[in-house]
Assembly symmetry: C2
Homo-oligomer: 132 residues x 2
């Protein structure tokens, strides 16, 4: 099938699929006459796999690792698990950071009148002398 159909089957944009071809992630056969790429069901499965992994916040490089593990029928599952646990830890870190930000901003917002007067604790906090 052509790239458009493969893309829609995989739930990705044509641009994205072409990009994956360019970086050698899912390199479909390309007709030397027309330049048209030809995708197999197997390629579509890989594209779906990548799409899902990307939605799980795995980077392109991590997807590449996962994909090679996925294609290696003898892979040990511990490698996949390790990658997943790392990703979880990364997400936890980001969560903590964002929670901290939210709490601080929330604190500032609740102390701000939010009216037509110029005094604003938020700006005061932002302009306070160096915080470290």
């Amino acid at each position: 099938m052509n790239i458009g159909k493969a893309a829609s089957k995989a739930g990705l944009s044509v641009k994205t699929v072409r990009y994956y071809a360019n970086i050698g992630m899912v390199a479909a056969y390309q007709d030397p006459q027309t330049g048209y790429r030809e995708y197999s069901d197997d390629d579509v499965a890989k594209l779906q796999f990548i799409g899902k992994a990307r939605r799980f916040n795995f980077s392109i490089e991590e997807c590449r690792e996962l994909l090679s593990l996925y294609q290696d029928k003898n892979r040990p599952s511990k490698e996949v698990k390790a990658l997943t646990l790392e990703k979880i830890a990364e997400i936890e870190e980001k969560l903590a950071e964002l929670q901290g930000l939210r709490d601080q901003l929330h604190h500032l917002a609740t102390h701000c009148q939010g009216d037509d007067r110029p005094d604003c604790p938020i700006l005061e906090a932002l302009s306070a002398s160096p915080d470290r």
Copy 2:
């Protein structure tokens, strides 16, 4: 003072400060002879302000807004508060998304043996047929 001192006072890199000059955020006076930029204490205060707002996850454009509100002595505080509440909502959204990801990954990881055998529920989940 020169850019190096201004940057260290503001807790930013020289590159960053130069970048802020280029995009017209904090445009310091520039000696026409030497090309050296000259930073005042006022400029440093602005740089600090921006640095802090950036750490609060405000984008460059939002920082520009905040900065102009900060410099306008007659601004109504409600504008600042609105911007802050928007930012909080944005962060909340991102938090929910990340929590969902973490939970799903966690679920997968707990069902994976993580040993030397090839069977892996994580990869199975990633390669399962279309999820929507």
